[in-house]
Amino acid sequence: MKKENKHIVSTPGMQEAPLVPRESRWQEFWRLLRKNRLALAGLIIFVCFFLIAVGGLVLTSGTKPVFDPAMVRLQEKLRPPFSEPRLEDLSPEEIPTLGIYLLGTDDLGRDVFSRMLQGAWVAVTIGFVAVGIAVLIGICMGGIAGYFGRNPVRVDHILFAVVVSVGAGLLLSGVFWAGGVLLATGCASVLVQRWWKKTRGTQSVPPLIRLLSQETFSIDTLIMRLVDIMLCFPVFFLILTVVALLPASMYNIMIIIGLTSWMGTTRFVRAELLSLREQDFVTAAKALGVKDWRIIFRHMVPNAMAPVLVSATIGIANAILIEAGLSFLGFGVPPPHATWGNIISAGKEFIFDAPWLTFIPGCAILIVVLAFNLFGEGLRDILNPKLRERY
């Protein structure tokens, strides 16, 4: 790094002419990535895994899939990897597509290769959707806390929130009349407040109304205390509880993992926005009359993306691990659908007779999660100039 800087500075004419940087952001990113071998390997594995997962989705879904992950052949159970099918026992449609059992078969004679292909897509979707939800909530919460943080919450805001949430709760629990009335009161109070502001302006108000606009605590306090509350729950235990109570489905798992892992992102985004808020380009945008939300999402959040990207990459790895753990305990994606965790959990009874049922999906999870972790850590080094000099 230092050498190159010197080189750039000593180029003649540097001071006057080229204001455009030598290399674009992507070129610089690529150069640094190529230097970091582990991160590059992580990225390559990640891309391969993604392609395999998409291919797996195409090849294993539909009514007549190329690789059928649910085809049961009881006469061919627990065959080791690379074994030839006994053709005389099988009807034509039961013969595996590749002609051999590439990764063996499980205790029902299902082809492990097809099941692994199907599971790859599950791992991708769970990882990306769960982290997508977490990042979305995290950016919104962090953005509000970082940008509007100093704005106080007034008593009437609290009253409004309480009335509306109690109303919604009553509606959901079946008390339609009281719930509807409360919700309507809540909505009406907003309209009344608008009208009041328009007609009265800043005239003197009676003390009771003044009590309503009493300032209590800041929005920042509210959101950060919410983060503290969420951090009090033991995460895996909470996920397990909710997954066990709700009907088993893949989407529930994604949503729950997402809803319980947004706290880190919120903290990162808030911290970044707190420092960005004081910078000149934000002041300039405000002076130009740009709307608050546009300043947050168009001007500030892109500048705060680096730590979010890093934590999202590592978050995907964690989500895949959590799903595997849930499947292992029997609370994962419901049975006919194959996931890597399901294959291990079904194969654990045959660990001495059929070790491939444990080792193939186990190694697959390990490699994919390792790739995400390595790439995420590499990304941290690349995106943060302060860390680069360390090596």
Partner: protein
């Protein structure tokens, strides 16, 4: 100092109240009821279910159930719905089983992570550092249950010792040495597995702290004075790098009650995690809520202790 303590205690109590409300709502608003766990059981006649609902206040509205539950919890009268045993007694018994796992795991974690982290920071960029880095990512990424099976296969096949459960059944009256060895073998694997993630993360953290301090000016000064390398590393750098880890004594407190569900169910270890898992399966709400409550208290107490410790050891942030 006193005002800080007072303020943060009040704040933590408010947080705790919200945790109580939210966990209660999550459990009770989820679809299904504990009385429906086993609908095919012929003993569960409608009258039975009705009596059951009455005995545990399930026929009352939610807010009254909430008050009843936490009143019972604070007076220590909560009973498990499954076997009518006092919850606190049950948790205490399981806690004593989990305690050795926690102690051995913590000792392993701290004694392994520190030397590795310090060593790889001192020789940064070298072969040792790079292989330690890769190994720690490997340990973070490996699914716990998969690693557990690999270790079980390895240990059972090479040393021919049983490792599942807390002790070998039917050992009977043998010499105390054998009993101790047996207990050690049973204890070692699950606590090592529980500590793997911690070892990896902690050693990375130690390394980055050490690097941070080693790039400070006073370390360069110490080097420039011609002090021997050992003295620079261990006396000047390490002491300051250790500062944030003092606070981690507070943060490991929640792990006391966490107990790994997966590891404990693989090793059939009758600890906290297993009990919580069984309670979830049986929809035994009092146990789930009590475990949740205690762990929230421990998290809050842990952060409080770590804040206090930080103020004691670091004069820069004393208020």
């Amino acid at each position: 100092m006193l005002s800080f303590i007072g303020r943060s205690i009040i704040q933590k109590i408010i947080t705790l109240v919200f945790v109580m409300v939210i966990s209660f709502l999550i459990i009770h608003l989820a679809p299904g009821e504990p009385s429906q766990v086993d609908p095919l059981n012929p003993k569960f006649t409608p009258e039975m279910v009705e009596r059951f609902r009455k005995a545990f206040h399930l026929d009352e509205p939610l807010h009254i159930q909430f008050v009843y539950f936490y009143r019972d919890l604070f007076t220590g009268k909560t009973v498990s719905w499954k076997d009518n045993e006092p919850v606190l007694k049950k948790i205490w018994g399981r806690f004593l089983n989990s305690l050795p796992l926690f102690i051995v795991g913590t000792i392993l974690m701290w004694t392994l992570a520190f030397p590795v982290g310090i060593h790889s920071a001192i020789f940064r960029g070298g072969t040792y550092d790079r292989s330690a880095t890769f190994l720690s990512y490997f340990l973070i990424s490996i699914p716990g249950f998969f690693f557990a099976y690999i270790l079980i296969l390895l240990v059972v096949n090479t040393f021919h010792v049983p490792v599942i459960g807390m002790r070998t059944f039917g050992l009977g009256e043998t010499s105390w040495l054998r009993i101790i060895m047996d207990r050690t073998w049973h204890l070692l694997l699950p606590s090592l597995l529980g500590a793997t993630g911690g070892i990896a993360v902690l050693s990375r953290y130690v390394r980055s702290q050490m690097l941070e301090v080693e790039s400070q000016d006073y370390v360069r000064t110490a080097r420039a004075k011609g002090l021997p390398q050992e003295q620079v590393h261990y006396k000047h750098a390490l002491r300051n790098a250790l500062l944030p880890f003092v606070t981690m004594f507070g943060l490991i407190l929640p792990a006391l009650i966490g107990g790994s569900v997966i590891i404990e169910s693989i090793f059939s270890w009758p600890g906290m995690g297993r009990m919580a898992f069984e309670a979830i399966l049986a929809r035994d709400y009092p146990i789930i809520l009590t475990v949740n409550f205690i762990s929230a208290v421990l998290v809050l107490a842990g952060t409080f202790i770590s804040d206090l410790l930080y103020m004691v050891v670091d004069p820069r942030i004393r208020l």
